[in-house]
Symmetry: D2
Subunit: 437 residues, 4 copies
């Protein structure tokens, strides 16, 4: 028996609160889970700063990655297996790509990438193709297997079907995170009927299609996604924490550039600050390392760094108002100036954040893979894009969810000694609040 | 209105997956939650190393503390309120004690305390009575209020009723952790009917009693506890991780004592290593700080420290066999010698661990508060200890659960070059495994 | 203490799978539940023939009525109580109206009313105002109390607020039936967050409004309703059973009119068949009485009655095709003639059924109470109709769900000896199936 | 392909709230479900009179039978399939026996059998082997197949393994009813981890054994059973309703014997009253037929029959006290005489009811199949009876649950004109209540 087809002597089972059990029978999967690069995901939270809004959401990318693997496993072993459109030789490819799809994420990924101009998808590729424990295992399957897995995740693979299982508008990644994030936050909106969805999926060369009888399950799933965006993913309190996190990293980088002498030298960041990072260094970065520095930097001399770190650790977040990109630009410029006048650097203390997403869309010029339409397989064999059959989906198709918020340290303005500038600031902010409600 | 009775303008609500919502209306509670000492609990896991066995169990002591508060709030506001036996002036005392009962826990508490000879209950008292944000808030309620709260938690208060709400065999602490640990691990055994239990609780001067009609709910709760011990709290894989953790801290302490030059100097531990720690230093310690050091120490020169840190982070745990304290002592002594012969220091690589607990007990000489019997309030007003009415409880009363395991690095013995000593070691270990099954 | 304010010595609690517990403290409510007219609801299924599609849906109107009462109780006692807009004198009125809102339902209500030209709302009024056990209890509260309760249910009361609690687009009736029907069918779509909805409801003189922060909970609720219509309430298999039920009752009535001598004389129906029924007779009718007759009539001489009863009891239902009212009328006329040619009376064997509903609508000329818009209470105190704030609701507002099906006995046409007429019938039916898919 | 191995063109799926879905692929199973004898189970409640205590428990034996089938299906297809100890030729036998194991139940089975001296197990055999639709289908599988199925259900089959799947202390029947009754009553105690139990079952020639790693799941299951007995199955309110039901049937039988002229002649009971019933008549009896008569008999001339029927339909039940068989016999004899003195026939109005059961027992002289011990399969291949490994099980093994209650019409004694006899009766009853609490 080759390594690729080797089975464990006894199936291993992980207890999982979302899928009840995660089943591993393949030796390759078991070995991948045991690598240091994969275990590192235990130290990176799935939802970044969201635990500061929903205290239950402390789950890691490790749990999510196992969950995606399990959904893929159920697709291939329980639903696709035996169907002529499914090539069982793609099984291990799909399982590995599902398990590893997020392996390149950094700590507080979203913010981290923005500040250091990184791309977690690139690091996923490096980890799969570079000199890592994961790479060694994948290579035992086949010399070009790492590249194949990486291509699926990068959506550059010719294998459209396996790609769509992991990246499309109804893929294992989204299914797991909606269910999991709903479970850990305690928000009920994310609960759709995954069992049903799996049962109605059918493999086609270009991707998964959904049997017509499952249309309502897809509706439910899309609405769940829509609601989770508004309730959880766009939640302004988590974004406030992100604004502060952004400030910390920005400030540390700026201080480094200016030659500031740290009491706690950020050795783990030194090459990052220089704009170059090697894989080995990257893999050592996780959220405990960041939190360690934030803890230590509460004792730095630099007042801004100190303040922001304390805010983040002790959850003294910024407050926020909605703003309108079209009409409020001047006001924000003015605020920026007034902030400077009272000694608050707007670069760190006045943060604009615009979130946007679409619940579903079926078409776009220059569409990426992830915007592939959801297709229904009708009883007569025909295939139709879902919004042409479902009023509910039609109602949300292409509707862009956008939310623009301005974050600022309410306490420093409202609670401290008032003066004319502060009064002006307050007036502007309350004006924006009044307009937009 | 005094600070003690001040209400928030609008009730604050935390979404909680276990209790659905956690409701805060009291200004004092809101302020306590916002302190740095309480927010620190977000960085300490409720179940220590258990997430290495049950990957979902990544929840923090922060979530548990909120949960205990909420259960106390429901007791006092929904069940006790208005009953003649309940003095509503104890309300805030009970709420604060519930919220703060775990505030002194250190990172990986169990292990940490053992190695550094600390006691989290002592630190809870320091944090409540010392120079902290929490103390300032409690003092605003009343000059002696911090001491009162601390006495409840320390079980030295004359107020037996409030004490029993937080520390007894059927208290808010246990109720929350059983439900919460069951939820996050995904193990179903911990689910008892808390709603029902709350409804049948009645306040008495000496503690809570349970209406007879709730006897079956108590049975269910006790059985849940019994099962959670075997399924989760005694799980050998988590204890293996603890054995390694113990080794790391022990080794670092020993190295420090021996004057070893660390590449990554454990500044956060310096006074701990000296056997003296002040409150300010303690409060800075959390699990991200420990994990940071473990990360860094993978690059130390000391081979043992390096190996153990790598094992912990990458989950290369020890394996285990059951042993019998009475009969296997000689064998273990012999193993110890053989380990030394093959260059494995048994101090770090051969770890005995004995866990024991009782599901329920109604009496003990020198009993602590936490062993107070569970009392039923019969329809005729009489009070009876529960095991005299319930066959099920009688069946488990006083039954000590004990589990003795010996942990060792299976990989270093089985997978490396065999020799006579190793063969002997294997023979002894397999003998023990054979005997005890 | 008056009867109206009398409390039970100890609160009574009903275990309920949907709301966990139903709490009764008011003597009036307890007495109403004990009446024969209310107990009769145990023998009338909440979802009529739906149990023939979803086997779990065997729950009665009794359980639903208790559920509506409990939701009203939570509104008044947990949410409205103490608010200036809420007049606590309306409490008992709301509770009684909630409990009794369905008390006039007959067996297999929908079909029954159609055939005998009855109206369950009228019977609800008769039962509340007539010579019944319920009336006697309500009269003890106040001479005009029965009329007040009846007026709320009939939506003729000047008390708009209490009316809207029971009949509006977001009322206790709908909330209970969506959750309950979802629970008993096992369909997950009906699960919205009722706790959240209750918490954001605010009483206003004209009806309930919803705090803006609860908008997403309303969206979830409306979508649940939309999905339950398609998945459960419009399910063609239940409608097929209803088509047969309709046939049975029609046939029995026709036979009676024609002077047919029944072997099992339908004494319970005699006045119904004459088009006049008195209250006492009506109250004796329940689903076990109907099922008894269907059982007995399997041995009648009349072949149609016999066949239809056997079909209903043994679930040998009709099959169906979609039809389009605009284009298929001629085809159906033709089918009707062809059915006659092969000896199938189309009156009983070729049944058109058109279902339609709206998920939500905010306005209509001549709107009834039940079409009152759902209103959001914005942070600034303004009130806005929900579809102006929610894209999701806007997407479904006013969208009429319509489903037209033609039912026929597939077995009698396809499985028996074929002939030219049958072939023609099959051709037409398959043509319709082809067109509409 | 033979009929026995014929598969449906597309798998049929029933939505089930307990098992999510029930899957049918075998043509034989599909055909059996469609028979009139099986559909009749929709009109027989799973828990008899329990819906008068737990209003949600209105589910039928139809749903339970499908559930048992599904559990068997999962055993054979997901767990046993492919194991050398499992003979796949027994698959259909096991599925059919699971589906049909309760098919002989009469209306309100327990009471009904007692009064008419019937045995539902005997009727199950008649229905399977007699001239029925079910028999015809089973015969198409094999001439002796009906007998084989009947033998499994009757526990007379040489096939111990299949027998144990349906009748043992850990069988599909019990697993389904515990989960289902918990779901429909809303009582949480019945929830054990069936998924886990299924995964650890292993087929052996003499019956199922449980892998040692599943011991705690078995404990949980046994405790669930223990608790469901006390909370639901022994509930005195349901037994009060049964006492009345018993009275009705007894009275009707006695009246018939005495030549009483019924206004509503119980034609369906005529041969039953004579002590002889044929299969065809039996199959027509269901709970709607009984309820029809109870409805009608509210207008009989006989006062006792009238009163009892009204009590049953309108839930005016008897009250109860505990009694001790050893000490209270004389008291009950005396009560009996006093009842007669005030004109209450003790035969119908003073009812002793003793319930008893064992949570688990491992051995008994003359043990039936259903007392087969639960066996653990140890890691070393040895097999051990469970109570030797589990303290928890040991604690309840062989413990007989017994509950003796005396039922009487409290209203007729306490609320009507008092006299000396009534006072004496009250004194005796309250004495018994005092003693036993």
């Amino acid at each position: 028996m080759t390594y690729a087809t080797q089975k464990l002597y006894e199936e291993k089972v992980f207890k999982d609160p979302v899928h009840r059990y995660i089943h591993v029978r393949d030796r390759v999967i078991w070995d991948l889970i045991g690598t240091r690069e994969f275990q590192r995901l235990r130290r990176i939270k799935q939802l970044g700063t969201t635990y500061l809004t929903f205290h239950g959401a402390e789950h890691s990318r490790f749990t999510h990655s196992l969950g995606v693997y399990e959904i893929i496993r159920r697709m291939v072993d329980d639903v696709f297996s035996g169907r002529p459109e499914w090539n069982n030789e793609d099984r291990l490819l799909a399982l590995c790509a599902g398990l590893l799809h997020d392996v390149g994420h950094g700590p507080f990924s979203h913010t981290f990438e923005k500040i250091f101009n990184l791309d977690h998808e690139e690091f996923t590729r490096y980890i799969i193709e570079g000199n890592t424990e994961i790479n060694k295992i994948l290579k035992r399957v086949g010399e070009d297997f790492p590249e194949k897995v990486a291509a699926i995740i990068a959506k550059t693979s010719p294998n459209k079907l396996v790609t769509s299982m992991i990246s499309s508008q109804i893929d294992a990644d989204r299914m797991d995170y909606l269910l999991r994030d709903a479970y850990y936050t305690g928000v009920s909106y994310g609960n759709f009927d995954m069992e049903r969805l799996l049962r109605v999926m059918r493999p086609r060369p270009d991707g998964i299609v959904i049997k017509q009888s499952g249309m309502h399950a897809v509706e439910h799933y899309l609405i769940s996604r829509y609601q989770m965006y508004w309730q959880v993913y766009f939640h302004p309190v988590s974004r406030s924490a992100e604004a502060i996190l952004t400030g910390i990293l920005k400030r540390a980088k700026d201080l480094h550039k200016d030659g500031y002498q740290f009491n706690y030298v950020p050795v783990h960041f030194s090459s990052l600050f220089e704009g170059k990072i090697d894989l080995e260094e990257y893999v050592k970065l996780d959220e405990s390392v960041l939190l360690y520095y934030f803890q230590a930097w509460q004792e730095e001399d630099d007042e801004i760094l100190r303040d922001l770190c304390t805010r983040f650790l002790n959850r003294k977040l910024f407050k926020f108002v909605d703003f309108k990109a079209e009409t409020d630009t001047d006001q924000i410029m003015l605020l920026s100036k007034l902030f400077e006048e009272i000694g608050l650097d707007p670069k760190y203390y006045l943060i604009r954040d615009i979130m946007s997403d679409e619940a579903y869309d079926y078409f776009r010029y220059g569409e990426e893979e992830s915007k592939k339409p959801i297709l229904l397989l009708l009883a007569n064999g025909e295939i139709k894009e879902i919004s042409r059959r479902s009023d509910l989906v039609e109602g949300i198709t292409g509707k862009k969810l956008t939310d623009s918020k301005l974050f600022y340290p309410h306490d420093l303005i409202y609670y401290s000694q008032p003066n004319d500038v502060k009064k002006k600031i307050i007036e502007i902010i309350e004006g924006m609040a009044g307009n937009t409600k």
